[in-house]
């Protein structure tokens, strides 16, 4: 987001000043704590006056977020934060609007507003805490839970094929598609900064551990032992390299990504990440193998997959109004009331 220009005369604020007087009520150990921390850390750097920041959320554990941010905020209803934020941004393009949502909130009940927000490209930041479960309602499977998942509502395993959130976002013409995780503060902060910088809807999927109802869902990506070989951190202009010591790379064999050994390959052979290439982003989004199934599989990518520069809805709306006012002048209420044809009764 870059509409909100740093205000030189603004009173700067510290991360501490973002802490509210409300007790944080997530379960001890919940991944949400770390995300909150990173957001509070990054905010003061962004050069936005605190009073211009608004956090809007739906319903879910994740959606309690605004209560813990000493900014303007709204904890709304399930699935609708995206729609509320759209109206807010349309009305007030000057604000820095952050949406906090869960996998259920944004992709189950809120799925429609999610895809429409992305296509309209309002200049807002959409943080989806994906814990692959409904946390708040105590553990039903979500549209991102893997097939076969045993939960309260699927005691014999779910038969639902899950969404691939990045793919869905790309399909909805998202202009900023990214992924990070609760347990990598440095990366998460960087992605948050990038999201802020992007002018347009910045979709940030954040893998978040729900240690009560879906503990360890992303362990394989966050655990020291497995992280390096199971994840792939992509950076614009850099080759796709991963592994304990960067010993593996990914190159394209025609249209097929293959894992190669860096001992026998040079960086030049590799797929160089180009975040402006939608097709490649599309391919990256399909690095979606379930690593727990074992066998040969691609690492899970993190980082900014895709960035596109496309006009924002609120700008189009504003420009249209301004250009009409410029050409026709401001509306005159008396003229409007009078209309075209009048007659007088004496």
């Amino acid at each position: 987001m870059s509409t909100v220009e740093p205000n030189p005369s603004m009173t700067t604020f510290t991360s501490k000043e973002l802490v509210t007087d409300q007790d944080v009520r997530w379960c001890p150990g919940c991944g949400d704590y770390s995300i909150l921390k990173q957001v509070q850390t990054v905010m003061p750097e962004l050069g936005i006056p605190r009073e211009n920041i608004v956090f809007v959320s739906g319903i879910g554990c994740s959606s309690r977020f605004p209560y813990y941010m000493e900014t303007f905020g709204m904890h709304s209803i399930h699935g609708r934060a995206t729609a509320i934020a759209s109206g807010l941004k349309a009305a007030r393009p000057d604000l820095s609007v952050w949406i906090v949502s869960g996998d259920g909130d944004s992709m189950s009940i809120g799925g429609n507003h999610f895809i429409h927000l992305l296509r309209r490209n309002f200049d807002v930041n959409l943080l989806v805490f994906n814990n692959e479960i409904y946390g708040l309602t105590k553990g039903q499977y979500s549209p991102t839970s893997e097939e076969g998942k045993v939960t309260k509502s699927t005691p014999f395993g779910s038969v639902d094929h899950p969404f691939n959130p990045s793919a869905l976002a790309l399909g909805a013409d998202s202009t900023f598609v990214s992924r990070s995780m609760d347990r990598d503060p440095v990366h998460l902060k960087e992605i948050l900064r990038r999201a802020h910088k992007h002018k347009g809807t910045s979709f940030v999927e954040i893998y978040q551990n729900c240690n009560v109802f879906n503990d360890g869902a992303f362990e394989i990506f966050t655990d020291k032992e497995t992280k390096k070989i199971e994840t792939l951190f992509v950076e614009h202009g850099k080759p796709l390299v991963f592994g304990q010591n960067g010993e593996k790379g990914i190159k394209l064999d025609g249209f097929k990504p293959v894992v190669v050994d860096m001992a026998s390959h040079s960086a030049n052979d590799l797929w160089i990440h180009d975040e402006t290439d939608r097709l490649k982003a599309s391919m990256l989004s399909r690095f979606f193998d379930n690593p727990r199934k074992g066998g040969e599989h691609l690492p899970r990518p993190f980082g900014v997959f895709y960035v596109e520069d496309r006009p924002c809805y609120e700008d189009g709306m504003k420009t249209q109004i301004e250009s009409i006012i410029t050409s026709k002048g401001s509306g005159d209420l008396d003229k409007l009331l009078r209309g075209r044809d009048v007659w007088e009764i004496q």
């Binding site: 605190r50 303007f72 609708r80 109206g87 349309a90 007030r92 429609n112 409007l336 044809d341 009048v342």
Partner: protein, 616 residues
Amino acid sequence: MSHQTDTLERVIIKFAGDSGDGMQLTGTQFTNTAALFGNDISTFPDFPAEIRAPQGTLAGVSGYQLHFGSTNIYSPGDRCDVLVVMNAAALKANLKQLKKGGIIIANTEGFDAKNLRLANIAEQDNPLENGSLEPYKVIRIDVTKMTRSALNDSGLGTKEIDRSKNMFVLGFLYWMYNRTLDNSIKFLEEKFSKKPDILNANIKILKAGYHYGDTTETMTPRFVVNPAKMKPGVYRNIMGNQATAMGLIAASQKSGLELFLGSYPITPASDILHELAKYKSFGVKTFQAEDEIAAICSTIGAAFGGSLGVTTSSGPGIALKGEAIGLSVMLEIPLVVINVQRGGPSTGLPTKTEQSDLMQAMYGRNGEAPMPVIAASSPADCFDTVYEACRIAVEFMTPVMFLSDGYVANGAEPWRFPKSSDLKPISVEFAKAKNGGDKYLPYKRDEKLSRPWAVPGTPGLEHRIGGIEKQHETGNISYDPENHEFMVHMREAKVEKIADFIPDQTIDSGPSKGKLLVLGWGSTYGSIKTALIDAHAKGYDVAHAQIRHLKPFPKNLGEILYNYDKVLIPEMNNGQLVRIIRDKYMIPAIAFNKIQGMPFTAGEIFEKIEQVLSEK
């Protein structure tokens, strides 16, 4: 040639034809001419159901009813004096609305074999020929033939020529009612300024119609309808949805708040969206959302940001908004929810009118979620009423339900429009400073029980609001049992408190005590009013009150009700206001219901009054 010329007090004409015959335009032109001449008027279009049906069929009939006169006119009227029919289907669909002895103007070409078949009439049953129209005066004109022959050297194609045949009818009616063609000629000149061929053809046919009246041998009667004695002032003609849109803009201008409309199209509410979308020069932001839920939610967002937030829909869409309305009740955020009611339940009768969403307005969401409800009683009244809705919303920090309906929305009447400077100011002040020592208390209330509106961007007033029960004053989440009860009562009290700031209920006509009160709400106004005129003419002891404020009721309403032996409540539903009145005031109010997708006729109400008065 001599034609008799009678002077009439009021006339009802219904123009009916196929959707493609331009009957809406014909009606509107006649209306404008009548209005400019000084008649009082009231009109109502009668669109075919939502799918455009094949030409010539019953389903495709489009109508436009005009009531004009030298006396005050309060409704488009009951049965018509003149029925213009462009084809057999139009006659079949509308004949029962024509008064016995009324005039039928029939385009004979619309009764050919094909048209009869399309109207499901056997050829031998052609009503123009089988004598069934005996009780009426029938004026047969082969409009098509005359139009074509008048234009056969115009260089236009048949299709284009045929399209101007409605002008023939218009011209003929102008002749019948002694009107000038000036206004319509001016209109045509503007409309076809870039198409001189078409312009000339239309004017030629308009005149041809007029002259046809003058020259034919038929003993066509002519009439004079003198100007009405209306309150002096400058008037324009206005439709309900248009008036609603203007009321919103006026409220935006007078309050200094940017107008934001979040809407999803639905019949018969879409025109408010269409109208507002035109007025970008007033800074109006119209957002066509992906659905009704997004429509209201975007509006909530805009209102949170400091806009005058409005969302428009009709019954099914309002049902979808219920959860979010509940949120805005809890947030105590200003919002105007507009329901242009249509026939229900479910998809129901989308193009027809009904008043069956009152209970939904009152109770259509979970929990104890009170909100003010206000209803417009005529097309022009939409302006004042929606303006009032906006005022209540922002001054009391509450969502407000504004009820209109298909009848009011599409009907038209003359409007002595106000000057902007005469409009009651709407006072809004955003909170600028902390109100609780070193804290900002978003739910600290003023004497109206209203809370402050602190918009993002205001330094020091950062705060959070949400849909979970909140603590008094701080607005923090609270699960405290007593606080919940307190807040439920507070939200109810706040809405009831509005009664201190609205006008007392008035008696529209009739005595202030007596045998019978007819109590209406919304669009039944005109029919009741007209019925009362007739009833008073007969000397009946009956009064009329029309409720604008349905929640809270005006404070004196109970008092008024107790002043009459009986209270009759006509509604275009199965009895909704009547339930609320019975519950609240414990009086055995009598329900009178019509659920036909059509307004009451004044006659129906008059008869019911007679019946109720005659019962012991």
